[in-house]
């Protein structure tokens, strides 16, 4: 409350920048006073652990604490890239990385194929129940992923409703529980709503005149979508693809529960989780895995941010 009253007291009458010597320092000091709780919180619980993880991943310290906070240990630490070497050369690790990337890529590709026409429809086709459909399709964003994963285990399993339907029709029994296919489908379930949210907004921003012009010149709706509308939303589409990919690679619940653990479907986040609960976890290697996940997430965010900027500048 002190900060709030301070803001009101000073801001409307604040001197213009540079008018009074020291005004800039004063404003910085005032701002950092208000930011202090935030900086303390993020410093302790985000910055220190993330930097600590990075240091751990280039160390040979197989201990589950952070050497950056322990000067004695840090002094004796020998730094090495052997953990990353093991991560990218040992067969089991390479297989985990490859499976993770393939599952994420296939899931994103399916998401684009399924999600693009649907988001177009939701954005431009104002028929009855479009709003309701839009709302239902946004729900999984807010649902606990653990619950989604368990519901899919039931659905895909031998006692699931799909199996009941297929065996009633006399076709070969559907049972894909604990397989890579199940993990791909589960990942699509979680990705589609995120993709729709971004793309529907982008389609809605495309000027209607543009589509009308194309169609009045005789192009069909599909042709208009492919040749006229998609090029306009392309930056957003690429941003959505990158964000969905980074999101999929970092998501643990679906691969863990729908995949049935690392022995069935190896997945990087599942491996991190499993190693952290075993007796011989190889902590620096696990840290290297986590650093790779963080790098994918941050690079993805950076690229998507660039593309979104491009999208908003082309919309103007």
């Amino acid at each position: 409350m002190v900060a709030i009253t301070d803001a009101l007291q000073l801001d409307p009458a604040a001197p213009p920048a540079g008018a009074v010597p020291g005004a800039r320092q004063h404003r910085n000091r005032r701002a950092y006073a208000a930011l202090a709780p935030f900086l303390l919180l993020y410093g302790v619980l985000i910055v220190i652990p993330t930097v600590g993880l990075l240091v751990k991943s280039v160390s040979a310290n197989d201990s589950a604490d952070l050497e950056i906070l322990n000067p004695k240990l840090l002094f004796h630490t020998s730094f090495t890239l052997v953990n990353y070497q093991a991560l990218f050369t040992q067969e089991a690790n390479v297989q985990t990385i490859v499976t993770t990337i393939v599952i994420a890529l296939v899931a994103v590709a399916l998401t684009v194929i399924v999600g693009t026409p649907i988001s177009y429809q939701l954005a431009v086709d104002r028929v009855r129940l479009t709003g309701t459909a839009s709302w239902v399709l946004s729900l999984p964003i807010y649902m606990p992923t653990v619950v989604i994963a368990f519901a899919l285990v039931l659905l895909f399993g031998p006692n699931g409703i799909l199996n009941a339907a297929t065996s009633a029709l006399g076709v070969p029994v559907w049972n894909i529980s604990y397989t890579t296919i199940a993990v791909v489908l589960g990942t699509v379930y979680v990705l589609v709503p995120v993709y729709l949210r971004m793309l529907t907004a982008a389609f809605a921003r495309v000027p209607g005149d543009l589509m009308d012009a194309s169609m009045s010149l005789g192009a069909g709706e599909l042709r208009t979508l492919l040749k006229v509308v998609l090029p306009v939303v392309r930056p957003t589409l690429l941003a959505a693809v990158i964000l969905d990919f980074a999101f999929a690679v970092g998501m643990v619940e679906i691969a863990l529960i729908v995949g049935g653990g690392p022995l069935n479907v190896p997945y990087l986040p599942v491996d991190i989780l499993e190693r952290s609960t075993t007796f011989a976890p190889d902590i620096p290697l696990t840290a290297a895995m986590a650093v790779v996940l963080v790098a994918i997430a941050l690079i993805g965010q950076l690229l998507a941010g660039r593309l979104n900027k491009e999208a908003s500048s082309s919309a103007r």
Binding site: P12, R30, A34, P117, V294, Q301
Partner: protein
């Protein structure tokens, strides 16, 4: 204009997709009401909802024990942060703007692993495990609250505050009569979505949860492997209902905010 072939196809796709989203959830509800392990119940029962009701109540309370204090603390941190971000210009503002989002971007297993190793380090391990877990939830809730509040403050007409003070109201009165009423709905909506984010968290919570402490998401995960599937279904339906009720209230509140 008559619907083109493509548009009819797209509509069919939307309907199929809605069905695909709902089907697993309906199947799970049916399963939770089934006496035997079968997709379409032949014997209907609600016994799985009361089978271990004391455990379920305990884990709902455990979830709230983490989430409610986390949201409250996150609010206290988010308010001065939002004011500074929306109203003032200062060195490093762009960096901090990016930083706020970090907990949303970092993969849960990576952040969870980093946090448990932090907790294992030196003096920090003296902190009660529950307090540390709540701290971690404050961090993941904070961007959910701060982002909309910053946006609301940026959109708010500062002239209102200036006018109030030029008419003789004190800064404290102006905050109470002008600023708070304008941003309060956004604060409430942000807190509700923050609560949902915290209740549904899995990965970070799994790393940090104290022994014997089972919030809903962890309880459900633990029971997916060995428990009776109908029982897990019933628990999952309860958590699903909890989160959808929280989000539903949030959405209704948000709609009232945007209507003004």
């Amino acid at each position: 204009m008559p619907a083109s072939g493509f548009r009819r196809l797209a509509r069919a796709g939307t309907i199929l997709c809605v069905a695909a989203i709902i089907l697993p959830l309906i199947a799970m509800v049916l399963f939770s009401l089934s006496g035997h392990v079968e997709a379409i119940p032949t014997e209907w029962t609600t016994k799985w909802y009361t089978f271990n009701s004391s455990d379920v109540v305990a884990s709902i309370l455990h979830s709230l024990e983490i989430s409610v204090p986390a949201v409250a603390i996150a609010l206290l941190v988010a308010m001065p942060l939002s004011f500074a971000m929306a109203r003032w210009d200062f060195a490093g503002k762009r960096l901090i703007n990016q930083m706020i989002l970090l907990p949303m971007l970092l993969p849960g297993t990576a952040l969870g692993l980093a946090l448990i190793e932090l907790y294992n380090t030196g003096i920090l391990s003296k902190i009660p495990a529950l307090a540390f877990l709540i701290g971690a939830h404050v961090v993941i809730v904070l961007p959910v609250i701060a982002r909309p509040v910053i946006a609301a403050l940026e959109q708010m007409d500062i002239e209102l505050e200036t006018a109030s003070m030029s008419l003789g109201a004190s800064p404290a009165t102006t905050v109470r009569k002008i600023t708070v009423p304008v941003i309060l709905p956004t604060v409430v909506v942000g807190s509700i979505f923050g609560l949902a984010r915290s209740i549904t968290d899995f990965a970070i919570t799994l790393f940090l949860v104290p022994v014997g402490f089972l919030p809903m998401s962890i309880e459900i995960y633990n029971s997916t492997n060995y428990s009776i599937p109908q029982l897990t279904s019933a628990n999952a339906v309860i958590l699903l209902a909890m989160s959808l009720v929280v989000v539903g209230i949030g959405e209704l509140a948000a709609r009232r905010v945007s209507r003004g």
